[in-house]
Symmetry: C2
């Protein structure tokens, strides 16, 4: 397996580091619009499929029953930065279903956002609410409540909530999920390895509602609308997913995952996109995804400029001096 | 250029991410003991050559004149974690030469150590003292004072301090440093690209004193002694460089650099080691360096076990569950 170099990190006039990877772009019938590198190898999508993992929240009636709005649905799809309004909204979401922060089983980490981490340090220590996955976990707990099962083990592979999630992933990606491709995610729920082309296919279906039941199509549309209406809740201040969805509204759904994965849907083009950087780098996966969006989405000059700073970000040091640039290679152009 | 995959990051039963790289091991005559991948391509060594950058501090008499001890000399070679005792020692070092924290030009970032960052947040904000390079910069300032030049521009390529550093790098590595291979480091001083085999050769000379003048050999020995005596000051609590030098004392000098670089010296074996992970990953470069040390340094059972947790670290998630492992590939065994 040798995927092509897609990203070069320049320092001065030299390439300092290189990132290899693969990209799949598919329509809702599974036809490939682009395939770079090996798009058939199983890849753990990690948090890039949170929007698929959140579909039962709509389909099982939990969102309606507990009166969840755009911000809360966006958080169910989010890897949030742990900023104050993220944390408050997750707590509110739990309360609507009669749940407590202590019901979360995602584990604890400091907020991703440095300013938020400093603010937390000033008045205490982080809790599970600050975990970037707390909104997803709150969503799982709401589903457990809505279907009337004991929520305590909601994160275990055999719990009805995770079995429902597994079913969604199979329905959307068309991949059959064997036990051998199941591992444990950073927040302890199962993560299922799926080939990149299946992930792209799944997100084409997520973006268009084609190839899935009317109920799943409606649920997907509701989540896309929520993320487009409240993109700050999907990531946070200055983050790629937030800024791209702020720029494009419902024209782009995009979500990052750990270890260099990104998934996106371009509903008007009927396309899904899936990216994996071989080495797990986020900086590279982000530039690859930005380049893929720029290639398939019709852009005006302002939009192109808005996206370009993610396709080819300038690298600055601690004094703010320009020290280099990230650039895409010929293989991606 | 296609270096071999040296590191696989496992999640469950699957390889989730892969890291390619190159390794050079040389003796002080420049004979290769090992060469994996392309060891002739220029590589920015970044902070991995801080010990070479600190040699003028001894050779120009600054350390003696200002009464710098082991901790301060170790800090001049360090990428420290910004823990309280690091910061205090850098401030003390500056004061000995009549300098102030405001003379530092390395820029400001939050301490690398999470606990230290939280402690700083509780009583204010970070300063240049918390920058992981503040000890190196304090060393540069001490050199400027000792040779009687205006210290203000000590970080500029044409300042006498940086010209002296460039001379040391050429003397030790045998590489001729053209302007085309100069870029700006994270802390704003010049970083010069040098082939990996030359870096390995340079660290064999650093570890043995062979192939350089008696003055440089003496300076190198003083820095190695200082780092072996005060390894916590070279990195910090729980960090690789600190723990390896705590384990092996003067038998190993090892130093990390940004973008996946490591350099080491094994004085008793007469060898230098240089590692570059293609994609700039620290987790991979660290495991590669640990494996290289394990290969060339005679180890007893306890030492082998101590090093093994860096060669093949277990990966845990936010709940402490084991989710996978980093492992070296056949190419590195």
């Amino acid at each position: 397996m040798s995927n092509p170099v897609l990203i070069e990190v320049m320092r001065g006039q030299l390439v300092e580091s290189r990132h290899r990877g693969a990209v799949a772009v598919c329509d809702a019938d599974g036809n490939a619009a682009l395939a770079i590198g090996d798009v058939t190898a199983p890849v753990f999508p990690r948090s890039a499929v949170k929007a698929l993992q959140a579909l039962p929240l709509i389909e099982q009636g939990a969102a309606e029953r507990f009166g969840l709005g755009d911000e809360e649905l966006a958080l169910a799809c989010a890897s949030h930065s742990g900023e104050a309004a993220h944390v408050d909204a997750v707590e509110r979401m739990l309360a609507k279903a009669g749940l407590l922060p202590s019901d979360l089983r995602c584990g604890v980490h400091w907020p991703i956002a440095q300013a938020a981490a400093a603010a937390v340090a000033r008045c205490g220590a982080p809790s599970a609410l600050h975990n970037n996955c707390s909104g997803k976990h709150a969503g799982f707990l709401c589903v457990a409540r809505a279907i009337g099962v004991e929520p305590a083990d909601y994160w275990q592979p055999e719990h009805p909530v995770q079995r429902a999630v597994r079913g969604v992933l199979e329905d959307f990606t068309g991949a059959s999920l064997a036990e051998t491709c199941c591992a444990i995610d950073g927040c302890s729920v199962p993560t299922w390895a799926v080939p990149l082309r299946n992930l792209a296919h799944g997100f084409a279906k997520f973006g268009t509602g084609r190839g899935v039941s009317a109920e799943w199509a409606r649920a997907a549309m509701r989540l896309r609308q929520a993320c487009a209406a409240a993109p700050w809740f999907v990531a946070g201040t200055g983050r790629f997913c937030t800024e791209v969805m702020q720029l494009f509204g419902q024209r782009v759904f995009v979500k990052t995952g750990a270890e260099g994965v990104y998934c996106a849907a371009l509903p008007q083009q009927g396309l899904g996109i899936a990216v994996k950087c071989d080495d797990g780098s986020s900086r590279a996966a982000q530039a690859i995804m930005a380049a893929a969006i720029a290639r398939f989405l019709p852009l005006d000059a302002g939009e192109r400029a808005g996206l370009q700073r993610f396709v080819a970000p300038v690298q600055r040091n601690w004094n703010g001096f320009e020290v280099g640039q990230i650039r895409i290679t010929e293989a991606l152009r």
